[in-house]
């Protein structure tokens, strides 16, 4: 439920004609909330123009997203090799990437790939996406399962990239990362500003337009 709400809010950041790369997890729910916006979804395995999931029984094992699940393509799609996929990414041609997060710092540092002492999955393509995409949106729960803030003054987990995050969307708040620090722009009901501040381990400025979202 919280995941869907986060995805729905993130979907509002995407506009017609954008080229977008979605991470796994919550970001993968975003296409459900785009209406008729024409977004070109890019994937690291070499597809630009990913469409809806296929109907059951219509899956093509040779047409998958970066997570290995079957997809379809839209008109104007193209296939290419993974080096070309990352050329697009490093050249800064991806408009928006939406990634999951373990920690985000007040400077916009992102940690999203490993917890020391746990299994080491490897960083995949996250470093390139986080460092090079024009706009990086992190979607995540506001606190971890120990009820600890995931938005912190400095990340303690291994970093994915420094100063890369532009916008944080959680189940409790929308926060912009600005040169002057974190700016709280939206608070999600039933949470209130006080709760958001308490569960955020970094200074938050209040936006003039701060709004509560029901």
């Amino acid at each position: 439920m919280g995941r869907e709400r986060i995805a729905k809010r993130a979907a509002q950041e995407l506009t017609d004609g954008m080229v977008v790369n979605l991470g796994i997890g919550i970001p993968s729910l975003i296409p459900n909330f785009l209406g008729d916006k024409r977004i070109f979804f890019q994937a690291e395995n070499g597809v630009l123009g990913i469409g809806k999931s296929p109907m059951k029984g219509k899956e093509d094992a040779n047409l998958c997203n970066a997570a290995g699940y079957p997809v379809t393509v839209v008109r104007g799609a193209s296939y290419f090799d993974s080096a070309t996929a990352f050329a697009m990414i490093r050249k800064g041609l991806i408009d928006v990437t939406v990634l999951g997060g373990l920690q985000v710092s007040e400077k916009g540092d992102l940690a999203n790939w490993m917890v020391p002492g746990k299994r080491v999955p490897g960083v995949g393509g996250g470093m390139e996406l986080a460092q090079k995409t024009k706009k990086v949106i992190v979607v995540m729960s506001h606190v971890n399962k120990h009820n600890e803030p995931k938005i912190v003054s400095a990340c303690t987990l291994p970093l994915t990239a420094r100063r890369c995050v532009d916008l944080i969307i959680t189940d409790r708040a929308v926060i912009e990362v600005t040169d002057e620090g974190l700016l709280l722009t939206e608070v999600m009901a039933p949470y209130d500003v006080e709760e958001v501040v308490r569960y955020t381990a970094a200074p938050l400025r209040m936006a003039e337009t701060l709004k509560r979202v029901e």
Partner: protein
């Protein structure tokens, strides 16, 4: 009947003779999609071990390069992640598998560099990262710092393609292309497993993705012999299910 005009069309058994204990093996594919199933199965059956595996990832335990990991045939893996193969993580923690992690875009560019005869590439990915920068030369260009990343080649590259002609020209199928054209360039010997072998001249010169000069041998695939994760799990619902 396809003419074997360049002697490149061989049996899977002949192909596997090039893959020996302790060799470096580069495998096309991404999460198992686009990996050559018949060659991988033949490697398992042959019983070679001590391999250095270069691949985008370690796939899933039962598909792609996953079984090579699970059956202990791999001594060292150079990959971007092992997240979809818990056995790889377990073997790494047990000290049975040496894993060199490389950011995905850097990994494929290192493979391309190997295939293109370059001596290295400079990237600003991970340049200040305590782990990814470790042991690498830092090169300064106009005041900006870059990591020197070295090319990757392998004794044998194996790839999966949709069609080959007898010269080894290849076309791929949709997202099963992924790392295959890069891996095809980087092998000292490159073997392509293909769904279909077509006569010389049957492929449109404009549509050929891998020119035949990069391909040393061609084998006919027996098709995918594993279940995909989305076939095992419930069918995906919604869009972009992961």
């Amino acid at each position: 009947m396809i003419q074997n005009e360049y002697g490149k069309i061989i049996s899977i058994e002949q192909a596997i003779s090039y893959i020996t204990d302790g060799c470096s093996l580069m495998v096309g594919g991404f999460g198992g999609v686009g990996s050559p199933p018949s060659l991988l199965q033949a490697i398992i059956e042959k019983g070679v071990g001590g391999l250095t595996l270069i691949c985008n990832d370690t796939a899933f335990p039962h598909l792609g390069v996953g079984p090579l990991i699970c059956e202990g045939r791999v001594k060292k893996a150079i990959v971007s992640h092992i997240g979809s193969n818990p056995v790889a993580g377990q073997r790494m923690r047990d000290g049975a598998l040496d894993v060199e992690f490389c950011p995905q875009g850097v990994l494929v560019e290192r493979i391309r560099a190997g295939g293109a005869g370059l001596g290295g590439i400079l990237v600003d990915i991970g340049v200040d990262h305590e782990w990814f920068a470790a042991g690498k030369q830092v090169i300064e260009v106009n005041g900006k710092r870059f990591l020197l990343e070295l090319p990757l080649t392998a004794d044998v590259s194996i790839v999966y393609a949709k069609k080959a002609d007898p010269f080894g020209n290849l076309i791929y199928d949709k997202s099963a292309r992924n790392t295959n054209p890069l891996v095809a360039m980087a092998g000292t010997i490159t073997i392509a497993e293909v769904e279909e072998i077509v006569p010389l001249g049957a492929l449109d010169p404009e549509a050929i993705v891998t020119p035949g000069v990069f391909v040393h041998y061609i084998v006919q695939s027996n098709g995918v012999n594993w279940k995909w994760i989305w076939e095992e799990n419930e069918s995906p619902n919604g869009q972009h299910k992961n």
